[in-house]
């Protein structure tokens, strides 16, 4: 790419950038989306608890916050969106455990507020009903507040689906493309990236944890964001069915959020301890991991540490006290015309559908002409997941393409056919294959399939295995050929 031209440039291929791209693809608008990583959804989008349709679940969603409205407006949009895009969505409902009268009064407040907002359906349930619904929860709970709206998704798959649908409808998406400089020219921006420059009239800055950095490139950093690090642990699929709802308990210490939830793929997630962190430092701290697990055990005492298969840390961007700690950024710059920044922080995935509408409106107000594109198709079909198909369809698939009969990842039973298909859709790295197919996401965490996936990546990309990376850039997996080091010594 030497120099490209477009009307709208979207910076960031997380769930928000992807949702904006897909929304814009409804119109006859020329748009490009750039993502700095080797695949989509690798920032805050992938590091969370995979819960959506929040808003009626905690008192922090105050009606005066913009963020609350985006989350509430998104609630009815999420399920139809997931259907159109063929991504897993499961309405699990939430049980907020109540241990004493003090907690009960908090939840009474929450329930009456939810009713006022028209988010009906919340109900208090007694201890016996709770036991029937969730036999494994702590005996300390005397009841719970049930929120029927809460659902779970796979945020990375949702992001990829949004990107694919946007791309089908004409948006140009580019990965490993990092914005380094933006200069303002008459009625347009010149955006320089590591792979050439883009001339554009509008910019949507959806750069996630870098959103303020990008705004600073045009001297439009009229908001302050603080990175808060959260910790999440993943438990083995063996525990699938151990709990059926997202279960929430009021934390005993500040800076903690105490949640245990099933995932759409059958694992359990627990977390998350929140604390200020240094941006980009996604390392898991030993003490925090310990607290996270202790908290999960307060919800379900029978959990065993042996069932933890993975843990990660991620960042949420919070705003300062002046505008409200829980406020978000969805705004056109005060100083620079046609420059829109968007960052929801927590819960960005939940707010994405309405946020995309909001950004589209802001673009219109900034002067973008939005003419409906009659050829827009809202539908996108997911690639087949071998493991989830009925036997007859498995047979057909193997007959058509024998690679589906070659199991590569044993824990998640992912076939070579799925990996090659994921590559056809854009996976170029070990993590890309992992997030798109789940190869390496099981209990052995890639111990078995890593050499096999590396081989397939190398073969399909026509590269030496030495060149294959975990997640792009400098993350090569294999640094030397056999005997290379000895020969260098001789």
């Amino acid at each position: 790419m030497a120099q490209m031209e477009t009307e709208v440039l979207i910076i960031g291929g997380g769930v928000l950038g992807a949702a904006v791209a897909r929304e814009l693809s409804r119109y006859k608008v020329d748009a490009i989306l750039v993502e700095k990583e080797a695949d989509f959804g690798w920032g805050s989008t992938k590091t969370n608890m995979c819960i959506v349709c929040q808003g009626g679940d905690t008192l922090e969603f105050r009606p005066e916050y913009r963020r609350s409205k985006l989350v509430w407006d998104s609630m009815p949009l999420m399920e139809p969106l997931c259907q159109e895009l063929d991504v897993p969505f499961k309405k699990v409902g939430e049980l907020a455990l109540i241990r004493n009268n003090e907690e009960l009064s908090k939840f009474q407040k929450l329930k009456s507020r939810a009713e006022k907002l028209g988010l009906g359906g919340h109900q208090f349930i007694d201890q016996d009903t709770l036991r029937q619904m969730e036999p494994n929860v702590t005996r300390e709970a005397i009841g719970a507040l049930y929120d029927p709206h809460i659902a779970i998704v796979d945020p990375v798959r949702l992001t990829i689906a949004l990107i694919e649908n946007a791309s089908q409808n004409g948006v140009n998406v580019m990965r490993e493309t990092q914005v380094v400089r933006i200069s303002q020219e008459v009625n347009q921006f010149k955006v320089e990236t590591n792979r050439g420059s883009v001339m554009c009239r509008f910019i949507v800055n959806a750069a996630g944890t870098s959103v303020d950095k990008i705004a600073r490139l045009v001297n439009s950093d009229d908001f302050v964001l603080y990175p808060i690090r959260g910790y999440v642990g993943i438990l083995d699929k063996n525990l699938g069915g151990f709990i059926k709802h997202e279960i929430h308990m009021r934390p005993d210490a500040p800076g903690q959020m105490n949640i245990l939830t099933p995932s759409v793929h059958g694992n359990l997630f627990f977390g998350t301890t929140m604390q200020p962190g240094v941006r980009g430092d996604c390392s898991v701290k030993g003490r925090i991991a310990e607290i996270g697990f202790q908290n999960a055990r307060k919800i379900v005492p029978d959990l065993s540490e042996r069932d933890i298969i993975h843990s990660f840390a991620g960042f949420l961007m919070f705003r300062n006290w002046e505008v409200g700690w829980h406020e978000c950024v969805v705004q056109a710059s005060q100083k620079v015309p046609r420059f829109i920044s968007i960052c929801i922080g927590y819960p960005g995935v939940s707010a994405a559908p309405a946020a995309a509408h909001e950004v589209t409106d802001l673009l219109r107000r900034e002067g973008l002409k939005l003419e409906t594109d009659e050829s827009f198709s809202p539908f996108r079909k997911a690639s087949p997941v071998f493991n989830e198909l009925p036997e007859e369809q498995q047979k057909e698939l193997i007959a058509k393409n024998p690679r589906y009969g070659h199991a590569v990842c044993r824990c998640e039973t992912v076939s070579e056919g799925e990996i090659v298909e994921a590559m056809r859709h854009g996976a170029t790295t070990l993590d890309g294959v992992k997030f798109r197919t789940r190869a390496g996401m099981g209990r052995c965490q890639g111990g078995f399939c890593t050499p096999r996936v590396v081989k397939i990546l190398a073969r399909e990309l026509g590269l030496s295995e030495e060149k294959i990376t975990k997640k792009g850039r400098e993350s090569r997996l294999l640094l030397h050929k056999s005997k290379e080091l000895i020969e260098a010594q001789i």
């Binding site: 996604c282 540490e305 036997e391 039973t413 052995c444 078995f448 640094l479 005997k483 080091l485 010594q489």
Partner: protein, 417 residues
């Protein structure tokens, strides 16, 4: 191929699966079938190019591939049916097997009896809950072993190994021979996790530092691993303040334990022993599900390949007898782990036959007595978790057992601090 009328089906073709299949055939099972997910027979033996295999079974010092080859030849000679590149995806309590491969598609098999020989897998980084970043360059020792010995790639030049399991120590030597610098083998316990012979031959002989009572407290580097922080640990295995130091490295290998692989067993409703991670078995190596037998590392993790094959032979023989509708003695006496015993296999025995028990201790102790009720007692200079105890009991000894349950224990020890 003919998949009907199978007497014994064996899942896995490592040192356990092949041994079980051979014995089943020799015991008179006519149609024996091995299901293997890799391209060739042998399981993990292919990547174990070091020696030390078969010292007891064959009385010869062989490499892993050589050891496997001897069994594979016999599998061929005996006319045992083999299905390669075939992944079993499901088994049921009535022994129905569902498997996939790229030739026949989805297969459904109904053998008369079944031997589980899926072996074990390595504990991963996630299970350790190891703090720090998530860069490239962190592998389990076994994954690195496959890259080096089978695929021909060296993961990196400056290596730290966490855990002193056998594969970790063997990889320390292997990578040193490949020209990499192994900066340390870090072990949280006051003693190694693997065999003494590997400590001597793989670490001491190559001057590789072994840091006992140390652990890794953090990994560094966003893209590729750049360093690890290690620290000394106290008696509670918690890092000691002020003992932290950073070691620059591009590769971290984990050799922190093996876990019997029993996903399929669970599907069939086979009861697992939480102490071993494998199916509870009787002396015939029959699991809680009638007609499903198990042998080798799928039952419990062994120290030596020879023992893996021997145990699987018991399972193979019993499976053949079951297929022939022979009665297996079912009087059950329960073996319980007592003081300083982590587990005993088999978990139940009949008192009517000679039996060999395998047990592992929890902690290292010196000058102890291994006792089993009133019927067995033996003095031992030292017991270590890394070295399995083997106890041969005769029928006449077992006949003295009065109760239905008996405890195996380590007595009279001065605990080593």
């Amino acid at each position: 191929m003919n998949y009907s009328d199978i007497d014994v089906a064996v899942i896995g073709s490592g040192p356990a699966g092949m041994a079980a299949a051979i014995k089943a055939k020799e015991e008179g099972a006519e149609h024996v079938l091995i299901l293997e997910r890799q391209e060739q027979l042998g399981g993990l033996l292919h990547q174990c190019v070091h020696n030390g295999f078969g010292l007891f079974y064959f009385g010869q010092d062989l490499t892993g591939p050589e050891y496997g080859h001897r069994f594979a030849e016999k599998v061929k000679d005996l006319g045992i049916q083999v299905l390669l590149e075939t992944m079993v995806t499901r088994i049921s309590a009535d022994r129905q097997i569902t498997a996939v491969n790229n030739r026949e598609g989805v297969l459904c098999l109904m053998p008369r009896s079944l031997v589980l020989a899926m072996g074990c897998r390595e504990r991963s980084r996630g299970q350790l809950n190891l703090p720090g970043t998530r860069p490239a360059g962190i592998f389990t020792a076994g994954t690195a072993q496959r890259f080096v010995n089978v695929e021909g790639w060296i993961p990196g030049k400056k290596v730290v190994i966490l855990g002193s399991g056998d594969i970790g120590m063997i990889m320390a030597r292997r990578l040193t021979l490949e020209g990499a610098e192994v900066k340390a083998v870090v072990e949280i316990l006051p003693y190694i996790g693997g065999l003494t012979r590997n400590e001597v031959q793989c670490l001491h002989d190559f001057h590789i530092p072994l840091l006992l009572e140390h652990t890794i407290t953090e990994t560094h580097g966003q893209q590729r691993l750049e360093a690890v922080t290690i620290a000394k640990v106290n008696k509670d295995k918690k890092p000691v303040n002020g003992s932290h130091q950073m070691i620059e490295c591009d590769t971290l290998l984990l050799s922190v334990g093996l876990i019997p692989e029993n996903e399929l067993s669970r599907m069939a409703g086979v009861a697992l022993d939480p102490l071993t991670g494998g199916p509870g078995v009787d002396q015939w190596r029959e699991t809680s599900v009638s007609g499903i037998f198990a042998g080798g590392n799928v039952v419990h993790v062994h120290d030596l390949v020879d023992e893996v094959s021997w145990e699987a032979e018991i399972a193979g023989t019993s499976a053949a007898r079951f297929a022939k509708k022979e009665e297996l003695e079912k009087e059950k006496k329960i073996l319980k782990p007592g003081r300083n015993i982590r587990y005993v296999v088999p978990q139940t025995i009949s008192a009517q036959h000679d039996v060999t028990l395998y047990a592992r201790v929890k902690d290292m102790e010196e000058n102890v007595t291994l006792k089993m009720g009133d019927i067995f007692s033996k003095s031992l200079r030292v017991v270590k978790p890394g070295e399995m105890l083997k106890i041969d009991l005769s029928r006449s000894q077992l006949r003295q057992l009065k109760d239905d349950a008996v405890e195996l224990s380590i007595e009279g020890a001065k605990r080593r601090q």
